[in-house]
Homo-oligomer: 295 residues x 2
């Protein structure tokens, strides 16, 4: 069991039944590898199988550690769906050619792994830059160069709006509405959006933008994660287990479902406490939270 504050939020019943493998409540639950950062790909795949999770979200770094061909074979033989591949992007720096080359490699990997989409964290602002509109425009230009390559390989680019706290340093794509404005410049098969509860929960426009995303067939991924306060010193690691914070993850899940999304619900949590816990316990906790707070 994950220790301390991560596991037992106050006010919740201590005992919740944990669905066993085969339980229909697990049918859409995917483990994003970043949630069990210390596990190798083999360990993460085995963990999903033990718990009965049908899908996994993969990351480039652990895939590279395993080796791409071996990773693709491992995942294929496991029978797990690949819900997403993380991640491409970082297109806003000075060397666009190098960034695009790296993104083409990520597309190739996603194709070999059978991932339906490559999650794109588009990049922040270069040092000293104050022209946000200009950076955003260049980001779109770079995407436009990448799209045909991804389409040819059957990999959809999933544009992820990040919480505005990351606008300067990680992603100038800050709201779901803005992500849709960009995605809609391309075919729906070429570009979708990620709806990550952690990044969008605060947005007064999120409900109407989810409707818009669904109507256009643009929801490529739904990710579950919670906003906890106070934030830790490193903002990047401030994400909580669903149920520990203020994000209405169930409301967002209902909204994407109502908008026609029937894909995986991927749990992605960057949190040192979670990383330090036993992986099987982390999965058991997120399975319970899925039942309590997402379904």
């Amino acid at each position: 069991m994950v220790p301390g504050a991560v596991d037992v939020p106050s006010g919740l019943p201590a005992a919740v039944d944990t669905p066993e493998p085969g339980d229909p409540r697990l049918a859409r639950l995917s483990l994003n590898q970043a949630t069990v950062k210390r596990w190798s790909l083999t360990q993460a795949v085995d963990g999903c199988l033990r718990a009965g999770l049908p899908a996994i979200g993969l990351w480039r770094e652990p895939v590279a550690e395993t080796g791409l061909a071996k990773a693709a074979d491992l995942v294929r033989r496991s029978g797990l769906r690949v819900s997403s591949y993380c991640r491409g992007g970082f297109l806003t720096g000075g060397d666009r050619a190098a960034a695009l080359e790296d993104n083409r490699r990520a597309v190739d990997e996603a194709a070999e792994l059978g991932a339906p989409c490559l999650v794109m964290v588009v990049g922040g602002m270069p040092d000293g830059d104050r022209d946000l509109a200009g950076v955003r425009e260049r980001m779109v230009e770079a995407l436009a160069e990448l799209v045909p390559y991804a389409v040819e390989r059957g990999v959809r680019l999933a544009l992820e709006p990040l919480h505005p706290v990351f606008c300067a340093d990680r992603a100038v794509l800050s709201t779901l509405g803005q992500a849709l404005d960009v995605a809609e410049r391309f075919d729906a098969e070429a570009a979708g959006v990620v709806v990550d509860a952690y990044h969008v929960w605060w947005d007064p426009q999120v409900w109407i933008q989810i409707e818009r995303a669904g109507a256009g067939g643009r929801i490529a991924s739904f990710q579950a994660c919670d906003w906890v306060v106070p934030l830790p010193a490193d903002n990047l690691l401030g994400r909580g287990m669903v149920g520990d914070g203020h994000a209405d993850v169930r409301g967002l899940r209902r909204a994407v479902d109502a908008a026609g999304y029937d894909g995986d619900i991927e749990v992605e949590i960057f949190n040192r406490q979670v990383w330090d816990a036993d992986g099987d316990d982390v999965i058991a906790t997120l399975v319970r939270r899925h039942v309590q707070h997402v379904l």
Copy 2:
């Protein structure tokens, strides 16, 4: 001179002329007291007069330390304009009656000090709450109770959207568009909005919302401050001197001006390095930055 990173951004000329008192470039520059947190009200007033600043933004705590009547007299005799009074709000907790009573006192103080507006930081989400829409609705209800009292006393409520990083713990008002949606429920004389560069710079909608705010006569205050990375451990203290970060403060100033705003440009910086520096040096720095990066 403020030491270290606060003072000299790379790439800028080291020597910039510092406007003297009487210089027309200072005509709209206001010192928000929070920028010189260690100074008493008397010291802050004297600092403004020495540097030739024509206006000051006041805070409740230092006013209370001086005593309201004495503070009002001090400011009146100084000839400084009061650009704003900080702050009311925090209306979303469990005890609305107490919050409203405290806000009525803040309105009374603003009136006695001759402040044109009371800046409202509306409050975050109660512990364990996930119903953001509900919290926002209750916030509007509480505002509606406060408005008539403020109108009677000639004090305008200036609704301040805070950066979404503060949505859970400080202000469920997260974008300028949302703040206008709320303000427009009341007369323009009763409710305006604050455009604070630090809070709105990232918003893809900010330009169109500034136009809307200006067209409706809703811009009650413009505040200058920069977004620097990396954020410090305490997010609240991560604000930079204008010119040190990624916010296009000049672009925002031009936009509010084009929208018809001709009020004060208030510099409000929560930053420990700035607080630790000599107050006169802080003012000299912000005066230079005003010329370099805002006008």
